[in-house]
């Protein structure tokens, strides 16, 4: 079984590029160039140098002693929270900004939900001196104020998406519209392994540094490069894709994908796409998708702004369909409790997104000598208010 993308841009039956003709030249230009560019030694050198000196990679693989004691197993946290700007998102934006420069683009657009990808994009645009426009749902702008402030500080223009449900999926629509309107000079930096081919593959490759590091870091810690489990939360799926990447074909390594159940999978307020979704087309990709019977895309709910996306990347749809990854869902409450637990056991305030992955430790039991690598995709500074309100601290 092959879990990676095929030459036509599909993971099994998922993926492809379901895009209007207006987007065809942009996407086609990218498709024809992305692998070639990524393979250039100069590109590799610049990418790796920035990951090291600017992002702060390698991100540590930290053995969480007290957490491990509590759950009687061996838990390693992959510390993407320590990256510059506070999440794994920057791995991708660094890669894409270098790509955009090589394609001669000087105007960058992006969508953002929680604001992490917006900040990561604004950051690399400042770094390269490129114009940056970030689309963000009007509702998200209100609930993610610190990240909006960060983007403005970084010189980006934040444009509210006023259409539809005024959240992430609408911001994505607006960004795509912008790209349609600006087909020549603009590159669209998508923030997860979603969108039309080649985005899912390109983003996964940029994020694959995560699993590459896990391999040698685990070797250092445990004299094996193979963990027993890799656990990651899934919004669009980019941190999971990055953490799984080099283990996809190694089926001894069990993959656990954690989706946001919101108030409960069957509560009507959920973002557990794999359980609640059906095959469909969203943002240019055939994938699992939460929708009405009629094929209208529904607005998901999660306390975590980074996980309430109604779709999931095509790689993950394939991992779900084939059973390669186990999909679990975690409610708001479970995630918040797990987040607070990490604060108080390990002194790390996780992003609420990452807290969903942590909640699996309570739900599933592991052998005492199992090696678990958990992708701590981001830090929780952006979520302080949510935590404080939730726990009435």
């Amino acid at each position: 079984m092959n879990y990676n993308i095929n030459t036509r841009g599909y993971y099994g039956e998922f993926g492809g590029a379901y895009i209007p003709e207006m987007l065809y030249p942009n996407v086609e230009e990218l498709r024809q160039n992305y692998l070639k560019v990524m393979d250039e030694p100069e590109f590799q050198k610049e990418f790796n140098q920035l990951l090291k000196d600017y992002v702060g990679r390698p991100s540590p693989l930290y053995f969480a002693k007290r957490l491990s004691e509590k759950y009687n197993t061996k838990i390693y946290l992959k510390r993407e929270d320590l990256n510059h700007t506070g999440a794994h998102k920057i791995n991708n934006t660094i890669g894409q900004i270098l790509m955009a420069k090589r394609l001669g683009k000087h105007r960058i657009i992006a969508e953002t939900g929680a604001g992490q990808h917006g900040v990561a994009t604004a950051t690399v645009c400042a770094l390269m001196g490129l114009e940056c426009i970030v689309y963000m749902g009007e509702i998200d702008i209100a609930r993610q104020a610190p990240n909006v402030a960060r983007m403005k500080m970084l010189g980006a223009k934040v444009i509210p998406a006023l259409s539809g449900s005024r959240t992430l999926k609408d911001a994505t629509n607006e960004a795509i519209r912008d790209w349609i309107n600006n087909p020549i000079d603009t590159h669209y930096i998508i923030g997860s392994v979603v969108g039309p081919h080649p985005y899912p593959d390109m983003v996964a490759r940029f994020q694959s540094i995560i699993s590459k590091e896990i391999q040698w870091q685990l070797q250092e810690h445990e004299q094996t490069s193979q963990p027993d489990y890799i656990i990651a939360c899934v919004g669009g799926g980019s941190n999971a894709a990055g953490a799984y990447y080099h283990f996809l074909e190694d089926t001894d390594v069990k993959l656990i994908a954690v989706e946001a159940a919101g108030l409960g999978v069957n509560s009507g307020e959920s973002a557990a796409t794999s359980v609640l979704g059906r095959e469909g087309i969203i943002h240019g990709s055939k994938t699992l998708l939460m929708q009405t019977k009629d094929g209208q895309i529904t607005e998901p709910y999660s306390i975590s702004a980074g996980l309430d996306y109604p779709g999931v990347g095509p790689m993950h749809s394939h991992l779900y369909k084939t059973g390669r990854a186990e999909f679990m869902s975690v409610t708001d409450d479970q995630a918040m409790t797990a987040g607070l637990e990490l604060c108080q056991l390990e002194g790390i305030i996780p992003a609420i997104e990452s807290a969903h992955a942590l909640a699996v430790l309570e739900q599933k039991s592991f052998q005492p000598n199992a090696i678990i690598v958990l992708s701590l995709s981001g830090r929780g500074d952006k979520d302080l208010e949510t935590y404080i309100n939730h726990f009435k601290l």
Partner: protein, 269 residues
């Protein structure tokens, strides 16, 4: 609600030709886009009848979608409202069930792929044929997927699939699109979402000229950015016709559907 109608319409060949017949007429064609279920849920049939009576040559009926990423704010807002009003694929088909009893001009359904995919492409096409729909415009159905997976189905049910081209589309790709097109090519005036510009500039004029010079076998109908007599005239200087969407939606949202003929009169002068 039934997924398709029981009685199968048999005038297969006739329907096949409504677009092609129309195109043979020696005139510039005016095509109007509107969103089904807007402004009121039950306006669909009246709007269509009204348009035909006002002298419109062809109609694109928009099946509303929650995430219409190639549309501008006006059309998207009308879609959002239509969905709020309760429009669904099944309801639209129900409304259109008897449309061929009163309307003769070509009718094209325009919709994003996901609702069609959920309905089932085969069932969808069959119902279209039953009703007397002549063609489909599905902006996010890529050409290769169409050719590999759906061409046979479309043809089986006598539906013309309309492809889009933009100023950025390469000559080579345009030739390919021309070769697989049956009715007309939807020529997007600028690489731009609907409703996002007013009047045509130098760049568009050059683009119109370029396409005209390519001498394609398939006639082109220009869409995007046409809002009045002036832009209609400019657009149809080289092309066979033009499509008005946002401007029409704006008109009916302000003036209601009873003044449609006033709007059309102004376009055709």
């Amino acid at each position: 609600m039934p997924r398709r109608f029981a009685s199968r319409n048999d005038n297969y060949t006739f329907i096949m030709n409504r677009i092609q017949e129309k195109i043979k007429e020696d005139k510039k064609l005016l095509s109007i886009y509107f969103t089904a279920g807007y402004p009121k849920i039950d306006d669909t049939v009246s709007i269509i009848q009204n348009l035909e009576q006002s002298g419109v040559d062809m109609i694109e009926i928009g099946l509303p979608f929650s995430d219409p990423l190639a549309d501008g704010p006006t059309i998207q807002a009308s879609s959002t409202q239509a969905l709020k009003n309760g429009m669904t694929t099944e309801l639209l088909f129900e409304q259109l069930k008897n449309i061929r009893q009163s309307v003769r001009i070509p009718l094209v359904l325009m919709g994003y792929f996901n609702p069609i995919f959920q309905y089932g492409v085969d069932a969808f096409c069959q119902t279209c044929q039953d009703i007397g729909i002549d063609g489909l415009i599905i902006p996010d159905l890529p050409i290769d997927v169409y050719e590999e997976q759906y061409k046979a189905t479309f043809e089986n049910y006598g539906l013309i699939n309309v492809f889009l081209i933009t100023p950025q589309t390469s000559d080579e790709r345009i030739r390919h699109i021309d070769s697989i097109s049956k009715g007309f090519i939807y020529m997007v005036s600028s690489a731009s979402v609907t409703g996002s510009q007013s009047g045509f500039g130098e760049a568009q004029r050059r683009y119109f000229k370029r396409i005209s010079d390519m001498q394609l076998k398939t006639p082109q109908i220009v869409g995007f950015g046409i809002s009045n007599n002036e832009t209609f005239t400019q657009a149809t200087q080289h092309a066979k016709g033009a499509i008005i969407g946002s401007a029409f939606i704006k008109h009916i949202s302000k003036k209601g559907i009873n003044t449609i003929s006033d709007f059309i009169k102004l376009i055709l002068n």
